[in-house]
Symmetry: none
Subunit: 222 residues, 2 copies
Amino acid sequence: MIYCVEDDAGIRDMEIYTLKSTGFDAVGFESGAPFFEALKQEKPELIILDIMLPIEDGIEILKKLKASSGTDKIPVIMATAKGAEYDKIQGLDLGADDYLVKPFGMMEMVSRVKAVLRRCKTQTRILTVGGISLDIDAHTVDAEGKRVELTFKEFEILRLFLSRPGVVFTRDMLFAEVWGSNYVGETRTVDMHVKTLRQKLGECGGMIETVRGVGYRIEENK
Amino acid sequence: MIYCVEDDAGIRDMEIYTLKSTGFDAVGFESGAPFFEALKQEKPELIILDIMLPIEDGIEILKKLKASSGTDKIPVIMATAKGAEYDKIQGLDLGADDYLVKPFGMMEMVSRVKAVLRRCKTQTRILTVGGISLDIDAHTVDAEGKRVELTFKEFEILRLFLSRPGVVFTRDMLFAEVWGSNYVGETRTVDMHVKTLRQKLGECGGMIETVRGVGYRIEENK
DNA sequence: GCTGTTATGTCAAATCTGTGTAAAAAGATA
DNA sequence: TATCTTTTTACACAGATTTGACATAACAGC
């Protein structure tokens, strides 16, 4: 879902039309008030925000968005009039993720939206690295296209690995994240789960690398 | 460190001057070739890349950057001529982090640089000196662009060296930091690790200098 | 230049440590 | 209860680390 705040109905409709025909779900708002109302109902993935607005201007709206913990992480693209460089600077410094200079092409808008979403890939619900893909919602894992049945702990560990490919997780980190407690004493619990993971993942099992003296990581295949 | 690739000497100098006077360390390049040469030596925090370049254009350079595992995470801001919308789209789709439309103000450039760096802040912690780069999170080391496999102690020692380039570490300091204990008695342990480090780092091995009677350090320049 | 002294480089052997694995015990779940 | 998951224990082994002996290089004084 993408929200567009834009007072010019022509531009607004064009934006919504383009976004929808590109496969996004989009809703337009004429001003800040109805926009904030909608925000209470549903948080969009991204906001396109015009700076020149009648009652409350875009900069003010942006400040409010960034001030509230529920909305501060939603990426914002500011739309600004040509030559208003100061606005751009202010917007960027206030935490806008990008901006569009009017008049902008719809192709460009879509590209920027995609680029920002790519950057802010906050919660991709499906993690994929190499031949392994893990669906967080469905709680399923496929390796080389084949469904793999994992237990809870195994799933959580694999999810961590996939969430940051190439990054090494120490046993302490794994314990903290998966068990929520500290890694105390000498136990081979983690190793055990890694072993079964490797086994169940078959071919892809080799992607889980041991970093001796440190921990484990999933190979960032290149 | 920020690298600027721009064929127009006037613009390039202006960029470098502005960035330096803002507190950044910046170096300019006229074309792709010297830029890639410098890249072997040191990886910058950010790259400002002109699209219209004589021999190899910015899009090509961007593709190369994103194709190499050592450079694909470095944020890139593309500089493009006004109205060349297609370029922008292509650049953004290829993974550029932002772009500047020529002619752009220096204030805007600085704002964008800061914004991109802010966004990419929580990325990876990478120490780079000369041709060596060490990724703390991934626990990997590259020398001259090639992956080098290090053992735990080797990694820790190299990490110390890279954390303070040019500074000499005595054997006592190394023991205290890496082993967490005091350097007792006469043993060749540290020297041994330094030897294997130099060996494994190949060309870059020479960067580890012996300071007779004191300890070791990593050579800052060259 | 030499020469003796000292620090560092190198090697192979000895030691130590972390990890893989299996199997059994302990907890959950149904 | 039976079954599945998780944890623990025990042990073997590959690989990392350390050590001591010796070679080599650097330096200071002559």
